[in-house]
Amino acid sequence: MAMREMRWRKRLLFPLFLLVLTTIYVGATFQITPQFSEGVVGPRFLPLLAALLMYAALVHVIRRELVSDDESGKGAFWQPVAVVLATAAYIALFKPFGYSLATLLYVYALFHIFHYQQGRPLRRLLYAIAVTAVFYGLFTLVFGIRLPTLLDVI
């Protein structure tokens, strides 16, 4: 019973998050100040209509989730979180570290998260260097795009 309760509570989190998001959106709708009047159907009309439809659909989904026994959404939790954290770090370090170093670290981290070449750190590093080099070649040599570098070197 407790497990079932926990499951539906988890499933409700996302629709509830969308409900909060929609409410913030509705709040921002009222801050729109039209430059001239277009009658009822002005700059606020579609956002309000979209929000109204969202509320109706969300209420329906929440009601269904409350009675549903569906167990969809099973899977590992830490791995997607780790991917998000690694990606956020990659984005933050992309310019200061340059493409080569940031990408090498990022690819190595993703290999670790996906258990690729587990227990073989040297081979993992070599593959990470290969992936970094291949896409460096693709972007800079094939498409002629200038990527950020570390101290104008790599």
Partner: protein, 514 residues
């Protein structure tokens, strides 16, 4: 007549070595992405999108068309060999193809899938070329209220095709519409929903949404699934070694399937392709069900019916041609792939509409040619050259594959505008799309809502301002009335009648229960 002349020049452009190389490259990429379960041609084109900033428009569009066609066909490869459809549109092929594989006739099943794809894809491309001038003329007749009703029709169809999850489809579509309202208003020079930040004043680009929704979310989803290695077992691969001559379908088998099955399935696929947001899965399903209903050997279905494979594959590849019609004429994508191709057009400053055909056929014609050549030449050629090694395509380690996808996606979103903000947005939308996918919300609806939302608002407000705020303009304008009537028909058949039938079936079940 000019159009057909330009079309022939399109074939000449395609014959240029550089453009031809892009088509072949696109076809190979599409085959790879279509064949590997979890990867789709949509993801392939999404990853290609940022790169198109530094490419000419013709090779970019040629490459997109080749990816689209090959991705649709390649889904049948793993559907047949290991019973995992490489693309959702190959579900029906998996049922019949894998049954044949188990009987030791996998190569023959792959041959029939390729033949069906070749016929369907070629017919779809030919219909696209033949009917495009007519579609352009018809689109000129549609006035602003009619355009509003057409976009409304498209949005409603996108929602109601989510048969068992209409509410979730509506949520995803409205999320897309809401994201599209961020930035400058469509009619007045005022910012909306920028929450005091300058970065949001110009609105959200389509690119980080596409990269986030289709690439980053895929990486997160695969990490979440935690299925270990994508590699199939070596014993399974070894048992699938096949010879080239085994691929050739016999004349007797083709005659048994019948030319009518190929033609009807291709026409069904093309027609379904024109409908917005419906896509290859529905095309394959409808054609398969129709072929089964008319079949002289319906008992073979589920046990390895070549007719079922031919119908499903002819329909899903023919859909490719149909999906381009509403996208090129009205900017309404028929499926997610054409939604991204629309992005390629917009990035290159091309605006969909009848004028595109009048003034820029030289840019569009090679893409049509690429669709036809991919279906007619590259599908059978790929089967002949690469067929014996198809099953090994899936032997790529998951870590290597998804790390590469993540790098291409993120660096791609950076190089498009040289902006770290775009990378961050791609991650944000990726996380958002991951949760949507995890809870069975259709992420494609989000993208289509994002694309169609501004058009809906613009046409609505423009129509009302032209008619002094009189809403009856949507009923008095014949084109608008036509689309509203069409909308009512679709809602009746896809929602009201279905729920009535479900209600009757439910009652019967309850009554028959002791």
């Amino acid at each position: 007549m000019d159009f057909f002349l330009e079309l022939s020049q399109g074939f000449a452009t395609l014959a240029r070595p550089d453009v031809l190389a892009y088509m072949v490259l696109g076809f190979v990429i599409g085959t790879f992405f279509g064949a590997v379960p979890g990867l789709t041609s949509v993801l392939a084109i999404a990853l290609l999108l940022p790169i198109t900033y530094s490419m000419d428009v013709v090779p970019a569009l040629v490459m997109c068309a080749a990816i689209f066609m090959s991705g649709m066909y390649a889904g049948s490869i793993t559907a047949t060999t290991i019973n995992i459809p490489g693309a959702p549109s190959s579900m029906m092929t998996a049922i019949e193809g894998h049954a044949l594989m188990k009987k030791g006739e996998g190569a023959n099943a792959l041959g029939h899938a390729a033949l069906g794809s070749m016929i369907g894809g070629s017919l779809g491309a030919l219909l696209l070329m033949a009917l495009m001038p007519l579609a352009a003329k018809a689109s000129l007749l549609i006035q602003t209220p009619g355009k509003f009703s057409l976009v409304l029709f498209a949005l409603v169809v996108i929602v109601i095709v989510q048969r068992d999850a209409i509410a979730k489809g509506l949520i995803a579509t409205m999320l897309g519409v809401m994201i599209a309202t961020i930035g400058i208003d469509v009619m007045q020079p005022i910012p909306r929903f920028n929450f005091g930040t300058e970065m949001l004043v110009e609105g959200i680009d389509m690119m980080p949404i596409i990269i986030g929704t289709f690439a980053i979310s895929e990486v997160l989803y695969q990490a979440h699934q935690n299925q270990g290695d994508l590699r199939i077992s070596l014993s399974q691969a070894a048992s699938s070694i096949i010879r080239r001559r085994d691929f050739l379908p016999s004349f007797a088998q083709i005659r048994e399937i019948g030319i009518v099955t190929y033609l009807k399935s291709a026409l069904l696929g093309y027609g379904i392709g024109i409908l917005p947001g419906v896509g290859g899965s529905m095309a394959a399903f409808v054609a398969y069900a129709d072929a089964k209903r008319r079949s002289r050997r319906p008992d073979d279905y589920g046990k390895g019916s070549r007719e079922g494979i031919a119908a499903a594959e002819a329909a899903n590849n023919s859909m490719c041609g149909g999906a381009f019609v509403p996208m090129l004429m009205f900017g309404i994508p028929g499926d997610p792939t054409t939604a991204i191709v629309l992005g390629v057009l917009v990035i290159n400053g091309l605006q969909p509409g009848p004028r595109l055909l009048e003034t820029q056929t030289d840019l569009i014609a090679p893409m049509f040619a690429s669709l036809l050549v991919s279906a007619l030449v590259l599908i059978p050629l790929t089967l002949f050259l690469l067929g014996p090694w198809f099953v090994r395509i899936v032997s790529i380690p998951k870590g290597l594959l998804y790390a590469s996808i993540a790098v291409v996606a993120l660096v791609g979103s950076y190089v498009a505008t040289f902006s770290i903000f775009q990378m961050a947005l791609a991650l944000l939308f990726g996380v958002f799309a991951f949760f949507l996918r995890q809870q069975n919300y259709p992420t494609v609806s989000l993208l289509l809502g994002f694309i169609l939302g501004p058009d809906l608002e613009q046409y609505l407000r423009r129509s009302l301002s032209l008619s002094d705020g009189d809403p009856t303009v949507f009923l008095t304008s014949p084109d608008s009335l036509f689309f509203l009537a069409l909308l009512a028909v679709f809602v009746y058949f896809m929602v009201i009648r279905k729920s009535k039938q479900a209600g009757i079936e439910g009652k019967t079940t309850v009554e028959s229960d002791p």
